[in-house]
């Protein structure tokens, strides 16, 4: 088991490195850099001005070198600008010489500087991540119990009317992407056209104080899309367990149906959905980006959109590191959890 986790961690590290390098490479392509220089400087920059801007800030160094600087294994660039000022990656011109550090990358805990928000990337990502964490907490709180309940109810009597209705409902929710359900919810419950106005169509105020009125629609929108999938997996697992021999034995012994479901079937039926729920978390990230854009909730997904549409290289890298780590860690947890929960795999 220890070796297995160690090997998985190694693969994770390699994957994260490859992915960040791909993001790094794509964001550092020349047309992207040119756009960056023009948005940071001014839009009527000449080609020479763009080149000198980029050279001074170390953007035109070879790709592996730049990547090394960002990682913190290669000393940061130190260049002298045209006006004689020193422009360096790791310190500003007025820092005393003895306090100047040579390395500054993510290994040193320095995530860089956002060109869009003019702020430190580390703190920026942390605050936005906390806001998204709040959103995700409520999404999980709504989605997981509801989905499990639907799945168990549908799966305990396969083919019954209850099963049919719930299965159709879960197919309907998996067929509704967030931008469709979100639009419909806002139109029906928050617009003047239908006149209901039960909820707010924007979740901006939920960043400070979340309440039912401004936070329920975004939470519901994200949960619905994932809910159907988890419910269907739970249903499949539950129907499989309900046809097992030991359930038949229990029925023949005359155990009450509710006891069979609660005491005999449920625990075994929940092993498979656990993996599915863990693997759903990265998918939820997509929903988070869409919903945060739609409801104007300035969390991590909103940050991703801002960073990507403005080619804010270091912010985008930090965002992708976080999301890649989320994906890989949830995969690892689901693998370990599956082995841990299922004795048949653990023993063999």
């Amino acid at each position: 088991m220890g070796l297995f986790i160690l090997r998985r961690l190694g693969v994770m590290l390699l994957t994260a490195l490859c992915l960040t390098f791909i993001v790094f490479w794509l964001t550092n392509l020349y047309p992207n850099l040119e756009k960056l220089a023009k948005t940071q400087g001014n839009f009527r920059m000449s080609d020479e001005a763009v080149t000198s801007y980029l050279t001074n800030r170390g953007y035109l160094e070879p790709m592996p070198l730049k990547f090394g600087q960002w990682l913190g294994v290669v000393p940061g660039y130190v260049n002298e600008g045209s006006d004689g000022k020193i422009i360096a990656r790791c310190f500003s011109g007025d820092t005393p010489v003895e306090e100047r550090s040579r390395y500054c990358g993510i290994l040193q805990g320095d995530w860089g500087f956002s060109t869009v928000f003019k702020d430190d990337v580390g703190s920026l990502v942390a605050t936005r991540l906390a806001l998204t964490g709040k959103l995700m907490f409520f999404v999980m709180l709504l989605m997981v119990p509801t989905a499990l309940l639907i799945g168990v109810l549908a799966g305990m009597r396969e083919g019954s009317k209850l099963d049919r209705s719930l299965s159709t409902a879960s197919i309907l929710t998996t067929a509704t992407p967030e931008y469709v359900s979100g639009v419909i919810f806002i139109a029906v419950f928050a617009s003047s056209a239908f006149g209901l106005k039960w909820f707010k169509g924007s979740a901006t105020s939920a960043m400070e104080s979340a309440n039912f009125e401004n936070f329920f629609l975004p939470v519901l929108t994200i949960s619905l899309y994932g809910m159907g999938y988890i419910a269907r997996m739970t249903r499949a697992s539950m129907t499989e367990v309900m046809t097992a021999q030991y359930i038949r034995t229990a029925r023949l012994k005359g155990v009450k149906f509710s006891d069979i479901v609660m005491k005999h079937a449920l625990r075994n039926a929940l092993i498979a959905p656990f993996t599915v729920i863990m693997l759903q978390i990265p998918w939820l990230l997509n929903g988070v980006v869409i919903v945060e854009t739609l409801f104007n909730y300035k969390g991590f997904g909103w940050l991703l959109v801002q960073a990507a549409s403005n080619n804010d290289i270091e912010l985008l890298l930090a965002v992708s590191v976080v999301s890649v780590v989320v994906v890989l860690v949830t995969q690892l947890i689901s693998d370990i959890g599956y082995v841990y929960l299922n004795p048949r795999i653990r023993i063999s």
């Binding site: 693969v11 994957t15 931008y179 617009s191």
Partner: protein, 488 residues
């Protein structure tokens, strides 16, 4: 002119529809409650020793649900038929029903032919044994025909999709067209968007983009996934480790981040999407070449002419797909020449190519994983061992023994994946990536409409509901296919 109401002169039916829907909802709820409690009807032992039972409460409720459902369907049909006869006299729904006339005819023909010959049509025919599958197929074919007749032939649409009509900005559904001449269609059936264009016509034309790109992109993703997944599963070892690592690498990317990185004008300038297209689109050529070669290499007299024709045709299509204006990649610093324009029979605008490539790229790793898993499972079967003993080559076994036996799950996943691709296309449009902002496809329209969502929701709701029905149809279709393919 008066604005149209939703149902016009058929408004009398609304009450009955509501009544039928209400009864159905109550009866279904009651059915569920009764299902949990679980009552059986009374049973009686007959003189000959057989048992007979009445239907009981659940049977009674089932009957109510059935008749209420028939009533809802009948009233729905009445709206459509009344609409075809009365046109806009039957309100917005009537007007739309008449515009959709070619679609209804095509749908009825398709269903009539399929139902008549369903025993001879294999898995497709079996689909018509399951209600869910039929509903799904109906929904999907509705949009396919709508896209074909409206988007390609220009039959259903009422106005030009790009022209703006004065006074129709954010017009509500059913508004009469101000300043319309005799020949114009007199109403905006689903209202106008914030640039005073007709929502209904844009919806119809947009469906063609979705209906065309989504299945094709899924097909390409399947080609890539199958061509790489079969050897990965069959050979295993280092090849498998490497390919799986690559697949997991792409899967670990958040889809939206990948889209933002690939589908920006700056990246298009560098020509990266064109290189990706050149790599991804070669897979169908490889697939069919290997497929035919593995089958016929023992008969060179058949194989050689067949391969020359097939490779020639496919390679021509491949070159036409990836080249544009006589070049594969054309940017400021260099040009890679491609097929000359006069031989280029597939017009592929650059922005469509980017969207296409990124959707294929995102989908293929998942297909790869599915195919690899299936191959791992099937390669242990006896018929594979038999083929190995006969001395068949590995590619013959993969493509002619394993692949046909994996077709059930693959067909089901294909349907589901078209739905997922539709969602991805909508996501791209929602973030304003790829297609131009005046493109009528559903995602872009939702994106344009969402800014005024709280005041004029109709411009965003129409494409949202359409996308929902199409994806729902594909999901139901997949469900029906799964049910029917498991049965044998």
């Amino acid at each position: 002119m008066e604005p149209l109401s939703w149902t016009g002169s058929l408004a009398g039916l609304n009450l009955f529809l509501l009544l039928a829907l209400g009864i159905m909802a109550v009866a279904i709820a009651a059915q569920i409650v009764v299902g949990i409690v679980g009552t059986a009807g009374g049973r009686a032992v007959n003189a000959d020793g057989t048992l007979s039972s009445d239907e009981g409460l659940s049977g009674f409720l089932g009957m109510i649900v059935k008749y209420a459902f028939f009533a809802v369907v009948a009233i729905g049909l009445a709206y459509v038929i009344g609409g075809i006869l009365l046109g806009t006299g039957a309100g917005i729904i009537g007007g739309m029903a008449r515009q959709f006339l070619p679609v209804w005819v095509a749908l009825i023909l398709t269903f009539a032919v399929s139902l008549a010959f369903k025993r001879k049509l294999g898995l497709y025919g079996k689909l018509f044994d399951s209600t869910v599958g039929m509903i799904g197929f109906g929904l999907v074919m509705f949009w396919v025909f709508t896209g074909f007749f409206g988007g390609l032939l220009g039959l259903i649409i009422t106005h030009d999709t790009l022209s703006q009509f004065s006074g129709m900005k954010n017009a509500l559904p059913g508004m009469p067209l101000s300043g319309a001449s005799e020949t114009d269609f007199q109403w905006f059936l689903l209202g106008g968007d914030n640039l005073a264009r007709d929502v209904f016509s844009r919806l119809i034309v947009g469906s063609w983009i979705v209906v065309l790109i989504a299945p094709l992109a899924t097909l390409f993703a399947f080609m890539v996934g199958i061509t790489l997944g079969l050897p990965a599963g069959y050979y295993g070892g280092k090849l498998d480790t490497f390919l799986s690592f690559l697949a997991n690498l792409i899967l670990a990317f958040p889809v939206i981040l990948l889209f933002y990185l690939l589908v920006t004008p700056e990246i298009v300038l560098t020509g990266i999407p064109n290189y990706m297209a050149a790599v991804l689109f070669i897979f169908p050529v490889i697939f069919f070449t290997v497929l035919l070669n593995a089958r016929y290499y023992t008969q060179p007299s058949v194989r050689t002419p067949l391969l020359i024709v097939v490779i020639g045709a496919l390679f021509w299509a491949y070159l036409s797909l990836i080249s544009n204006d006589g070049a594969i990649v054309a940017n400021d610093s260099y040009v890679i020449p491609g097929l000359p324009t006069m031989l280029d029979w597939i017009p592929m605008p650059p922005e469509i190519l980017v969207v296409f490539v990124s959707v294929v790229f995102v989908n293929s790793p998942t297909v790869f994983r599915i195919v690899r898993g299936l191959a791992l499972d099937i390669k242990t079967r006896d018929y594979v061992a038999a083929a190995q003993t006969r001395g068949e080559g590995p590619w013959y076994i993969m493509l002619w023994e394993i692949l046909p036996n994996a077709r059930g799950p693959l067909i089901v996943d294909f349907c589901l994946r078209i739905g997922y691709t539709t969602i991805l296309l909508g996501t791209l449009g929602f973030f304003g990536l790829g297609l131009e902002s005046e493109s009528p496809d559903w995602g872009t329209t939702i994106n344009a409409g969402r800014r005024l969502l709280s005041i004029y929701p109709h411009a965003a709701i129409a494409p949202a509901v359409s996308l929902l029905t199409l994806v729902l149809g594909l999901n139901l279709l997949a469900d029906g296919l799964r049910e029917e393919s498991l049965r044998d």
